[in-house]
């Protein structure tokens, strides 16, 4: 299944290139103008195809993401496909207009601003303008957007898709009309299904209801929620989307946000660690015990299911969460582990899971915890890692935490000769 999903994704991403190669094989453009025309149509073809693929990949079906490297990896692909298709679709009109310069200004004007009756061209323009509206916040054109506003604006992608489809079917470009109908029809059906799943169906079919039975304050601005409800099958290190329904919440009620699971997969309850980072997570610091919430997931593929291979974990701040989940999992199991955990915190008061992790380490000989305090020891260094585990360069390294820690740890590890493929990082950075 995993191979099938990967191959399908690769096929969906590469078919426009085959079409372009076949078109060049049939007839090479004769002059500059014809080349510009060809590039303009090629930009439209690849741009729309990758736009539809980006939409399809945003489906966020629980466990579907595993085949493509986890949801965070999938988001990166979605983000890049969206960015490339945006650039290509912005190239589409100017290239076609430039291609008609040799035919005179009337042809240029007719390409850029055709008569109102030419609805297919205007449909393309409307799609591109809508795309600008919902892509602008994704790439922080006018400052960092609010998460909810960004999500709402992203719904315009559905309208942009319909308008672009009208344009592509009426002006098939490099595809034969019958081929265009099949290709754009089926790709749009996939993208529309993903869009409708996210917009309407997932909230009924994929979210499950839980009751928040405990709100445990771990430190100022950090809580651990315990949720009781239907059993959820997940691996340590995965995350879920939580939608709190407490009517007394001052913010974020009914809004879904991603949070890491800190419970062990075999526990009967779910436990979720939340740090105050915005309005919604801030409100959750005081969510009422007994209130309801929905959970959608699990997502992500950060840690391996077994921990017997030599590993170095580096966790900072709330980024310690996936490691807590994994440590809790092997605390109650007898399997062999070989893990060195570097727990980065500003000072001892912010190492809120340290005591529990040290208790687990005391009962698991292959698990060692090394606290590192920024306020006392400064930034993490290679010599600190050397003191923790002299063989750290030979270990698989998993890093989770704020972007500054990820960048620093990656620089240290690659600087020490560690291959990039031995480093896995997890960062919640949606924009």
């Amino acid at each position: 299944m995993t191979t099938l999903i990967r191959l399908t994704t690769i096929a969906l991403a590469t078919w426009p290139l085959a079409v372009l190669a076949a078109d060049l094989y049939v007839g090479t453009p004769a002059d500059t103008s014809a080349w510009l025309h060809w590039f303009g149509r090629a930009a439209g073809l690849i741009g729309f195809a990758w736009f539809l693929l980006a939409m399809t990949l945003s489906v966020r079906l629980p466990r579907f993401d595993l085949a493509l490297g986890g949801l965070l990896a999938l988001w990166r692909v979605h983000h890049w496909l969206g960015a490339i298709s945006f650039v290509l679709l912005m190239l589409h009109p100017p290239l076609l207009a430039l291609a008609s310069v040799s035919a005179g200004p009337q042809a240029v004007l007719a390409t850029l601003v055709p008569p109102a009756s030419t609805w297919a061209v205007w449909s393309g323009w409307a799609a591109l303008l809508l795309m600008m509206v919902f892509q602008a916040p994704s790439f922080s054109f006018f400052g960092s957007p609010r998460y909810q506003r960004w999500k709402l604006l992203h719904r315009l992608s559905g309208a942009a898709m319909v308008l672009a489809l009208v344009h592509a079917l009426a002006l098939p470009g490099l595809l034969k009309p019958v081929t265009a109908e099949w290709v754009w029809g089926s790709l749009t059906a996939l993208a529309a299904a993903a869009f409708l799943w996210r917009l309407l169906l997932s909230r009924w079919l994929s979210r499950r209801q839980y009751r928040i039975t405990r709100v445990n304050s771990l430190a100022p601005r950090v809580v651990e929620l315990t949720l009781e409800g239907p059993p959820l099958r997940y691996d340590a290190g995965q995350f879920v989307y939580l939608t709190p329904l407490d009517p007394a919440l001052p913010a974020g009620r009914g809004e879904e946000h991603p949070y890491s699971l800190v419970s062990a997969p075999q526990e009967p309850c779910l436990r979720i660690a939340i740090k105050e980072l915005g309005d919604a997570s801030s409100a959750l610091m005081r969510v009422a015990e007994g209130s309801l919430a929905t959970v959608e997931g699990p997502y992500g593929r950060f840690l391996p299911p077994q921990h017997d291979g030599a590993a170095l974990w580096i966790g900072g701040g709330i980024g310690i969460a996936p490691f807590v989940s994994a440590a809790r999992a092997f605390a109650s199991q007898s399997g062999k582990v070989n893990v060195q955990l570097v727990y980065c915190a500003n000072d001892p008061s912010r190492a809120y899971y340290l005591a529990e992790l040290e208790r687990i380490a005391a009962s698991q000989p292959g698990f060692v915890v090394h606290p590192h305090y920024f306020a006392e020891q400064g930034p993490l260094t290679a010599s600190f890692l050397e003191d923790c585990a002299a063989d750290y360069r030979q270990r698989m390294c998993y890093i989770c935490g704020p972007s500054a820690l990820l960048n620093l740890a990656e620089t240290i590890l690659t600087g020490e000769g560690m291959p990039r493929r031995h480093i896995r990082m997890e960062e919640f950075n949606l924009l």
């Binding site: 912005m90 100017p94 207009a97 008609s100 035919a103 007719a110």
Partner: protein
Amino acid sequence: MKRFLFACFVAFWSSVVSIWGYAVLATDIAADSVTGMANQRFISAEELARHASSDDCWMAIEGVVYNFTAYLPQHPTPPVVMTDWCGKDATQQYRTKGYGRPHSPAADALLPQYQVGMLKNP
């Protein structure tokens, strides 16, 4: 990536506005020259049929006769798509491109500069 995309966004609007401005300013001059070229000579179907090769290609579209010899190499499709219609009335073909889709407004705007006369009614 964000800076690059913003640069593309600015470049897009700059180029579209520049190209549009050029086209608007130049249209009057071009329109004058096209009007000057407008040739009301009537051409019979027999005379049209004598220009039926890729070296001398005339076609009638909507009652107007065009000399497309110079344009043939610029057409986006392989040449045979057009040369089959040299010397003939290609109105239907121009309207449908053979599969029910009309030519673009840009193509319509290309036509006047190739006009050589009007098709004489039989």
